[in-house]
Amino acid sequence: MYGLIAAEAAIFTIFVVAYLFYVGKSLVGPLPNEVLHAPVFLTICLLSSSLTIHRAVAALRRARMRTFELWWAFTIALGAVFLGGTAREWHHLIYDQGLTVRTNLFGTSYYSLVGLHAFHVTVGLLGLLTVLLLGLGGRVGQEHTERLDVLSLYWHFVDAVWIVVFTVVYVIGR
């Protein structure tokens, strides 16, 4: 998983570099400072989901299945809220502001970078959901702690990337 994370980090680095390179180079509007609003609430949701997944795996390690399932479901909810928020933001951008991938450089690099992250959140959510379903079916036990550790590592990584994306897109980029 660390190998995968290194590879993913390299991919994200390239997208972040492209984003930073193109900040302020769009020839036509809309520009980031006109349309972007920092999604503080969503960020809090996503970052706190790191905490909940940590608690979930810790509970599993001590074989407390109820607590595990609760924290795990909580993590999924937080991730889903984040994803829904992103969808709402995109809807707003596309239909109210007319910003698409084709509009300008900002659109291209914004949707690519944030979309790449959203894609990773989606993959993570699918993984988490699978585990939850298996857990409710009674197929997850203490012996799977190590595997879920790997999954939670991925989730932490997705969160950490969001810190970078947030900084680049919503702080520096404006």
Binding site: A6, A10, I11, F12, F15, A18, Y22, R102
Partner: protein
């Protein structure tokens, strides 16, 4: 009777139906079989890409030639470059690592066998997809809709406007798919080496091959991922109307070059480090001496790995970067010569005073040493920015990198073929045919790529379709093409040798070269589980310790 000697083909019925045996190969997760699949796949595409090269050379044999159309010529050099790098060199390297790493570190398989199979089939699919492009559009003789944008695919040539149709999409998707395969394999190799070493096999006792594979895997993870990212951006541009590399909308063509070469230069080391690995295994065995300066060899390799991540822009001296940036990349590129020089000195020091046996593998490694030295030196010449401004776009540069890729990497891998063939097949390769192969290929190689430097210096540009007579290029180009004939013959002898030896070669036994690393302690070919009991290692030459209990290595190692 030949197949019966191979344990994995033994079964209750003497010969099972062909379909069943094929099915076994397709569904296999055994690292040895996957290694063989990688290598066979690479050899098939080696021939394909070689034919593409031959077509280019026939076209350039004489001035005003019109053997193929300019369009077909563009397609040929694009396909030749792309295939050779991604579907010949990389699979060869991965095949060797896949087969040998678990055997050398005393493991029973790779860390993730199913990921291993998945990665191979991704790579294989990428190559098939790329060559599928020959079947579209203007038909095979017009070379179909094969990509024609060069293996670097510089923007904005790849934009929809300048590259309509699907040729560039074939290129992008094929490389994206095989790139994911490469990353998977690299993660697998890395994990295997770090987690599955047998008892006593500390990092300091690993064979150099394993150390160098580790470095190579790390480089693949850090280098191929940027390429995948860049491919995704190119797809966004081509399919969703994005503007990453669209200069009309403020996008930048130079940033594609940066992204591509951030991958492209470490890639060179991804390919050459395994070649070093092969040479580092063969030279000690045929010099009958342990490798000279083991820790320094490891340090130099890791050092090369690190520096190689910071040299990419030496492919872009002519773009017009600032003098400071040019200076940095000149210096970092030259700095790489230092650890590389250390390695060459250590190989020479290993041979120094040794009892050298010039068997075929050793011949190829000796060729490697000289040719890698020359290729490296022209590399240092090209690292000087002013020199690069003159010759960077000429045949001189083509000659330089072919010197490294063919003269060093391919020669080392040929050596590796002859060295490990007895282990893989249980049969010895024919020495006579091997030596014939060596000399044919050596002559062909030098005829082709030595001569190629001269028209470059005389001003012949790369990727040129045809040229005027009377510029002093004619005779040189003719010689270059004649060299290709020798290389082609050599390759035929090589493939013939492999096939003949597989059926008719002498029995090899488990350790035909009297070597020292763990893979020679198993039967040839190794059983599916590699080792009946996991070996315990006490020094860098475990087999020496076994064979010479009166004077084992571990007495002298700390």
């Amino acid at each position: 009777m030949t197949t019966a000697s191979i344990p994995w083909m033994q079964s209750d019925v003497a010969r099972r139906p062909l379909v069943e045996r094929l099915h076994d190969w397709v569904t296999t997760v055994d690292h040895k079989r996957l290694g063989i699949l990688y290598v066979v796949y690479a050899l098939v595409l080696l021939v394909v890409a070689g034919i593409e090269a031959a077509i280019m050379r026939i076209q350039l044999m004489a001035p005003h030639n019109d053997f193929v159309s300019p369009q077909v010529f563009n397609r040929m050099f694009t396909m030749h470059g792309t295939t050779m790098i991604f579907f010949v060199a990389m699979p060869l390297v991965f095949g060797f690592a896949n087969y040998l790493v678990p055997l050398m570190i005393g493991a029973r398989d790779m860390a993730f066998p199913r990921l291993n199979a998945f990665s191979f089939w991704l790579t294989a699919f990428g190559g098939v997809l790329l060559h599928f492009s020959f079947l579209g559009g203007s038909g095979l003789y017009g070379a179909g809709t094969a990509p024609d944008v060069g293996w670097f695919a510089y923007a904005p040539l790849t934009a929809k406007t300048f590259s309509p149709g699907h040729s560039t999409d074939y290129w992008t998707l094929a490389l994206l798919v095989s790139g994911f395969g490469s990353i998977g394999t690299a993660i697998n190799i890395l994990t295997t080496i770090l987690c599955l070493r047998c008892p006593g096999m500390t990092l300091g006792r690993m064979p150099l091959f394993a150390w160098l594979s580790l470095t190579m895997a790390g480089l693949v993870i850090l280098a191929v991922s940027p390429l995948s990212a860049a491919q995704m951006m190119l797809l966004v541009d081509r399919y969703l109307g994005g503007h990453f590399f669209d200069t009309q909308a403020g996008g930048s063509a130079v940033i594609w070059m940066h992204f591509f070469w951030v991958f492209g230069h470490p890639e060179v080391y991804v390919l050459v480090i395994p070649a070093f690995a092969v040479v580092s295994e063969i030279i000690p065995v045929f010099s009958r001496k342990p490798i000279f300066g083991y820790p320094v060899m490891v340090a130099a390799t890791v050092c090369i790995g690190f520096i190689s991540m910071s040299v990419w822009a030496h492919h872009m001296f002519t773009v017009g970067m600032s003098p400071a940036a040019n200076g940095f990349f000149v210096l970092s590129t030259m700095a790489i010569a230092v650890p590389t020089g250390i390695k060459i000195f250590n190989w020479l020091a290993t041979m120094w005073g040794g009892t050298i046996q010039f068997r075929t593998p050793m011949l190829f490694c000796t060729g490697f040493l000289f040719q890698f030295l020359i290729g490296g030196l022209t590399g240092v010449m090209l690292a000087c920015a002013p020199f690069d401004w003159q010759l960077g776009g000429s045949y001189f540069l083509v000659a330089h990198f072919h010197y490294v890729i063919v003269g060093a990497i391919l020669f080392a891998l040929f050596g590796g073929f002859y060295y490990w063939f007895p282990k893989v097949s249980g049969r010895m390769c024919s020495e006579t045919l091997g030596k014939l192969h060596f000399w044919l290929f050596l002559i062909g190689f030098h005829l082709t790529f030595d001569c190629m430097h001269v028209p470059g210096i005389l001003g012949m540009p790369r990727r040129i379709y045809t040229y005027e007579p009377g510029r002093g290029w004619d005779a040189w180009n003719l010689w270059v093409t004649i060299g290709v004939v020798f290389q082609g013959l050599g390759t035929l002898v090589f493939v013939g040798n492999l096939v003949w030896s597989y059926f008719e070669g002498d029995r090899a036994g488990s350790d035909p070269w009297d070597a020292w690393t763990l893979e020679w302690s198993t039967e040839s070919p190794p059983p599916v589980y590699n080792f009946a009991a996991l070996p315990v290692v006490r020094s860098r030459r475990p087999l020496w310790d076994l064979k010479h209990p009166e004077d084992p290595d571990w007495k002298y190692e700390q």
